[in-house]
Amino acid sequence: MDPLMLDGNAIAGLLQEVFAVEMTTAIGTCNTCGAADRVGALRVFRGAGIVMRCPHCDNALVTIVEDGPRVWIGFAGIRTLQVTI
């Protein structure tokens, strides 16, 4: 267990800023194991950037790097993201 691990809730503000909708209740599907989870239940690791991982298989789903007003978002491990708009 990594003591630095957080939940998707922890970056709710950042995600809402980027997507302009509440994102912790959005559902992400892992393209490695196929598990579908609420974004709020994904695992979040903060370092130089942010990595969101699948709680079932640990696959890196999303990477986020912030630099002032610019944000780079990579969806390396997400098959689909279901958002209610």
């Binding site: 267990m1 990594d2 003591p3 630095l4 691990m5 957080l6 939940d7 998707g8 809730n9 922890a10 709710a12 503000g13 809402q16 800023e17 509440e22 912790t24 209740t25 609420r38 974004v39 709020g40 239940a41 903060r46």
Partner: protein
């Protein structure tokens, strides 16, 4: 989502290391129990620091209460707990998060498991329950280091009853004559406090990451369905 100016209305000490800071936030759109805000501080040279804090209060106009633990060597929390006075202003945005929330209409049974200042969003749920006149079966299992470190101690004593059970465990020191739990939360304690997995309780766990990890594991081991267990880890985020 815009940054709003929040003015300090009141500062209330809760324990030696924890204070509740009440803000007036003009234009506040309201919130649900369990949601949080992002707080931003800007230094004179433009340097900014940002943290997330759970909202402690029930929706009440433009009033937003945050209960904040002073983290040793923290960058933001010592400023918030030591320096802020009524009339001071900071910036905040929110409410954010829609997953770790509970509304009285969802009903119970409810199992709330708190570690230290992890009680804050769970207290918002308990307060919302009281405000709505709900008598939903609600059990709070609350782990603190000592009796002096129990946040909201007096209010919890007042609110217990009418379907609300409050159980403390004191992990480091106990007052003389203490007959309650005096160890870390484990599967046996969770089973005793209940409700049982067959009652399909909604479970909310909030605290430091290792605490949440241990509790969530014990809950699943007891047979609670993982999707009914919602967690909020706050980790050592530099406070």
């Amino acid at each position: 989502m815009t940054w709003r100016v929040a003015e300090v209305v009141k500062v209330v000490p809760e324990t030696p290391r924890v204070k509740t800071i009440a803000f007036d936030v003009p234009g506040w759109p309201g919130h649900r129990a369990g949601q949080h805000v992002d707080v931003r501080l800007t230094a004179e040279d433009g340097y900014q620091a940002q943290r997330s804090y759970s909202i402690a209060s029930v929706p009440d106009g433009t009033r937003v209460d945050l209960t904040i633990e002073r983290l040793q060597d923290g960058e933001v929390s010592p400023y918030l707990t030591d320096e802020l006075r009524p009339g001071d202003r900071i910036e905040l945005r929110g409410p954010v998060g829609g997953w770790f929330v509970w509304e009285p209409a969802q009903g119970g049974p409810l199992l709330l498991v708190a570690g230290g200042s992890g009680v804050v969003p769970l207290m918002a749920m308990i307060r919302a329950r009281t405000a709505a006149g709900s008598n939903a079966d609600t059990r709070l299992l609350f782990s603190s280091r000592s009796w002096e470190d129990v946040i909201y101690r007096d209010e919890l004593e007042r609110l217990r009853g009418d379907g609300l059970t409050v159980v403390h465990t004191l992990t480091r020191s106990q007052p003389s004559g203490w007959t309650g739990y005096a160890r870390r939360v484990d599967a046996e304690m969770l089973a005793e406090v209940g409700p049982s997995p067959t009652e399909l309780p909604r479970v909310y766990v909030c605290g430091p990451t290792p605490y949440v990890e241990a509790v969530a594991e014990a809950l699943v081991q007891l047979g609670h369905e993982p999707h009914r267990v919602k967690t909020e880890r706050f980790g050592p985020t530099g406070g």
